[in-house]
Every structure is written in C-alpha cells, then in structure tokens.
Subunit: 300 residues, 2 copies
DNA sequence: GTTTCGCATTTAGAAAATCTAAATGCGATC
DNA sequence: GATCGCATTTAGATTTTCTAAATGCGAAAC
C-alpha cells in the first residue's frame, strides 16, 4: 500500500488508459484532458518508477513488456473503484433515512409508510426514531422531521403543518360534555406535569383560567393519549398525535375548535441530500398525507 | 470508468485509509500527510459525491452505511494497484534487455552468456540482436552494445574495448606466410566490397599500398570469417569477431600486430536503467570477459 | 464541575501539481 | 517531397494541495 505514495494515482489512470487505447490522443479524449497533459503525467510516472512504460512508435504508444503485464490488473482495479463509486451513488439515491421524534413516528408516520412504499417502490425509507436532534449535515441521515416553535425556524427548513391543539377524551366521557366548562369535571391528563396547549385553547375560546382537576401524568404524549382512550381524563392533543385514534373512534374531540399552538412540524434536510430526488418525493408525499389528514379532521 | 473523473483518486485513497484506521490522525500518518490536508480532501470528495461519507464522532470518524459498504472493495482495488506497481518494480529489476549488433552477439556474446547466468542466476538477460540503432531512452531496452568511431562517442557511453584489427587466415594458408608481404599472394576477403582495416594495419607496420588480389565479398564480417576458415583467403578481423575461432584453431593470426582501428565498443544505457543494479553488474561482467579475451590474444 | 486531552476542522498563505495552447519534431503515407 | 497524424516540449497560467497554527468540540480525568 505504501507503494502508492510513489506514483500519483492519476498517473496510474493515465497509464491504463494509454495502454488500453494505444494512443495518447484517444486516452486524452477518454480522460477529458489534452494529450500534452497526459504526456507530462506519463513522463513523471516513468521517472518516478525509474523505467519507461511505453515504447514510442510513430503510430502511437505501445506498452513495454513489464507494463503490458500489469495493465490487466490496473484495468481491473480501476474498474473496481469505478463500480464502487457507482454503487455509492446508487445506494445513496434509493435509500432515504429520516429522523423523527418517536411519538410522531409511532402515532402517525409508520401507519402511512406502507403507502409511500407503494408509490415509490424503489426508495427504501428508513426511520430513525430519536428524541434528540441530530446535526444532519454531519450524519448519514437525509431528512429530519422536527417539531418546534415557529420563531426558531431554522435555515432551509420547510414547514409541513402548523400544530393545532384540541381536547380529546374517551367516547364515554364525551357524552357528559356539552360546553367547554364541562371538561373540567374530569381530570386533566398531563405530559411531564405540563399542561401545554391549554392556555392557547382556552384563550381562543374566550375562557379564562378555570380550575383544572389533577390528573395522571405521563412521560410523553403518546401515553397521555392512551390514558385518554381509557377514560382517565381529558388530554390536550394535536393533529398528528390523535389523528388515527379519532378516525377509529378510540377518542373523540368534543369541540371542533382546533387552535394554533404557535409551533409547527418542520421538514429539514441534510445539506447534501437537498438535491436527491427521493428527498423531494418524500417531502411532497408527506405534504399530501398531511393535507389528507387535515381534510378528515375538518369534516368531523 | 468515466465515474473516476468525478472524484480524485487520491481522495479515494484517503477515504479508504480513514475508513480502515477509523481516524484522521492515523490515516494521515499512514499516507504521510497532515490531518488537515486529509480533512480537506475528504470534504471535497464528499462535496463532489453529494453525500457525507463519514459520521463525525468525538472519538474519530465512522463511515456512513453506504461508505462502509464499499470500503472493502476500495481496499481490494487499492491493494491490487499497489501489488501491480510492486510487480512492475520487481520484473524491472530482474530482467535486462540488451541490444547488440548480430555479429557481436553471434561471434562473441552468446558464447559467454552462460557464464553470466551462472554468476547472476536471478537476472534474466535478453538479447535483442538488431543492426539498427535504437533510441534506448524511448524503448524498453536497458542496454546497448554499439560499435562506433571514438569521435562519435555519445553522452553517457562507457567504452568497453578499443577495436584492434589484424589479418587472419586458415592454418593451411598461414604455413606459406612468414612476412607481411606473403599475405598478398592470397585473395583478400572483403566485407561489402570494402577493405576496412587494412589501411591502418599496413600503416602501423610501415608498409605502403601493396597490390591486393581480388577475393570473395560477403555481406557481413561473420561470413567473411567463415570464408577465411575455409581457406578462401585473408581477412582483416578484429578481437571480438575472431576470438573464439582463434582459440579453437579454426583460424590463425600469422602476425602478432593488433592495430587500433580508431573505433571501439561502447556500452550505452537507457537513461532509466542507469541505476539498475543489473546494469552495473552486466557492465562489470562484460569488462571482465573482454579483459579475459584480451589476455588470451596477447599470449598467442 | 472544571480542566484537560484527543480529536477533527478551519483558515490563510505558501508550495506544488497540473493544465492549456502553441510550437516542435518525427515517421509514415500519399 | 509534401502532408498528415501523432507524441512531445515549452512557458506561463491556473488549480490543487499542502502546511502550520488556530479553533472548536466532546469525553474523560481530576
């Protein structure tokens, strides 16, 4: 391996091309350079190898015996390198790695990926459900779907959907609920002891700060939604979380008001992946699916 | 193959080394460069491939999935290139191609090559008997043994031996020859209708321009010598031509005077081959063999 | 919790390599 | 004897690549 320090690899390519084509001019054409440039590279290689590699004929260049002996090996090795790069590009264009928050993945995305695979069978979509934000540019992840406040919008991010919040509960509970104030006869389910979303929702409905019953608290929204399904209380949910549970009737939203929370879902891209067609296709597909979910919520 | 235009081959080497060693610092050490240089080459490669090849960890660099997949192929290909270069160097050091005039080859050199092979069994000596002078620097020939006038001595040539001329004839004829004038009762054998050598020899012995009988003419000195052996006349020979025939008694030199012709044998070297040990060894061996022939001539 | 260490990366400027375009030279062919 | 095709040389421009030092960042050590 240390051998390769003695000759520039580009010179090896020149040698192989000249040997294969039998002429400087043809090799130059193949390599996209001028004959003069190749001639110089060749001379340098010969000098550093301490031996001539080609016999100069009036009709072109003929490899010397020892050069001819290794040319097939050079061709092989260079073909191998070339094929490797092709594979690199190919695999890159057909696999798409997406990092998403686990809750979004489990409550919304994974149920729809089947349709994506149907539409783009050549793209192999891989999910990387992680809670922490990755530096996409220095990873092999193409896309991130991140939730964040609109004010923190990052460079080159694409907004997928505004988050809207609304209370949900089990069908049983909802029977006792006619007006917003009725909600507060039930416990309020909390995510990490927080009551996120309630303030904006109440404000939008012109309600003050009613007294809210203590309720169970869970580490993430997904568990909170489960608790709501089981009738443990009222939970302030949002579209992508509750979408499928609503559709299946596992929970219901007693009021049609869906209030902008001021946060959104963002589609962010690895700097390298921006121009990958698969990225664009995934983004467009995501947009369509979200629009479809939205339409459903509006009709119910 | 056209693929390889997109990425510099040296970058491929960097990629392979980083992937194999797992660290920029170690790769830099192996490739004999600074980490900064490799970092730059890598960034450029990533840019032109349009994808990151390594995930940056605090402990070093980890290949991305698609990079890792091709690394074994890269290692293979680079190893192959390296091995090819090794073979190139190896074969170069053990085969020695020598271009010689056919007459010198057939009358002197080939009878001694056996001894050369014995002394240097690892060097495979190949003779290229050609009449025309080759431009060594642009051929795969390492050495030329050329005959020429001293005034035309070329650059970097090494004089092997001064040519000395002397008349020879068959043993039968020589019995009638006591003094130089006796030579001219026999036909004078010519090479290409020329009487080369006679003038200097006669001058050295203080003889004028005696009348010389017409004799057979042949295309080259080797055939002239054969004619002399067969008693067809007198031939003005020289050391390397007549050496073995004299030793075997096929011809005799009636007079001890060996006169400098003003020409010599030259040992010339392909510019690339000068530093090959085999070249030096062959030159030294040639010198010894010639000295040995000289000693024999002096004693007879 | 702070420091230190081992990395990779960035930067600016220097050095080296490589290239281009045109001239040159050399055989072979017409 | 002229012309064509090819490789080579040359000088100068251009691009690439490198070095050395500064920087930044995370993990381990203290």
């Amino acid at each position: 391996m240390r051998n390769l320090n003695s000759v520039s690899l580009s010179a090896i390519r020149v040698i192989e091309a000249i040997a294969r084509t039998g002429s400087l001019v043809r090799a130059a054409e193949e390599l996209g350079a001028t004959p003069g440039a190749l001639s110089q590279r060749l001379s340098k290689a010969e000098a550093s190898l301490g031996q001539p590699l080609f016999v100069r004929l009036s009709t072109g260049l003929r490899p010397t015996e020892s050069c001819a002996r290794i040319v097939p090996r050079l061709t092989l090795a260079l073909t191998e390198l070339s094929a490797s790069l092709t594979e690199l590009k190919r695999s890159e264009s057909t696999t798409l790695t997406v990092t998403v928050a686990p809750i979004f993945a489990s409550r919304w995305l994974i149920w729809r990926i089947g349709r994506f695979n149907q539409k783009y069978p050549t793209i192999s979509l891989r999910l990387l459900p992680t809670a922490d934000v990755i530096d996409l540019d220095h990873s092999d992840v193409d896309v991130g779907i991140r939730f964040g406040r609109d004010s923190a919008a990052m460079d080159g991010a694409f907004k997928l959907i505004d988050q809207r919040v609304f209370p949900v509960c089990s069908p049983e509970l909802s029977r006792s609920i006619q007006k917003p104030q009725d909600l507060f006869q039930f416990p309020i389910i909390r995510e990490n002891d927080q009551l996120s979303g309630w303030e904006v929702w109440l404000a939008a409905l012109g309600l003050g700060h009613p007294e809210m019953k203590a309720g169970p608290t869970y580490a993430d929204g997904s568990l909170c939604l489960d608790a709501a399904m089981l009738g443990q209380g009222i939970f302030m949910a949002w579209q992508t979380l509750a979408s499928d549970a609503l559709e299946r009737g596992q929970v219901v939203a007693p009021f049609p008001n869906r209030v902008l929370s001021g946060a959104s879902y963002w589609f962010i891209t690895n700097r390298w992946s921006v121009q990958k067609p698969a990225v664009r296709q995934f983004r467009e597909w995501l947009g369509e699916e979200m629009a479809c979910s939205l339409r459903y919520w509006e009709t119910c």
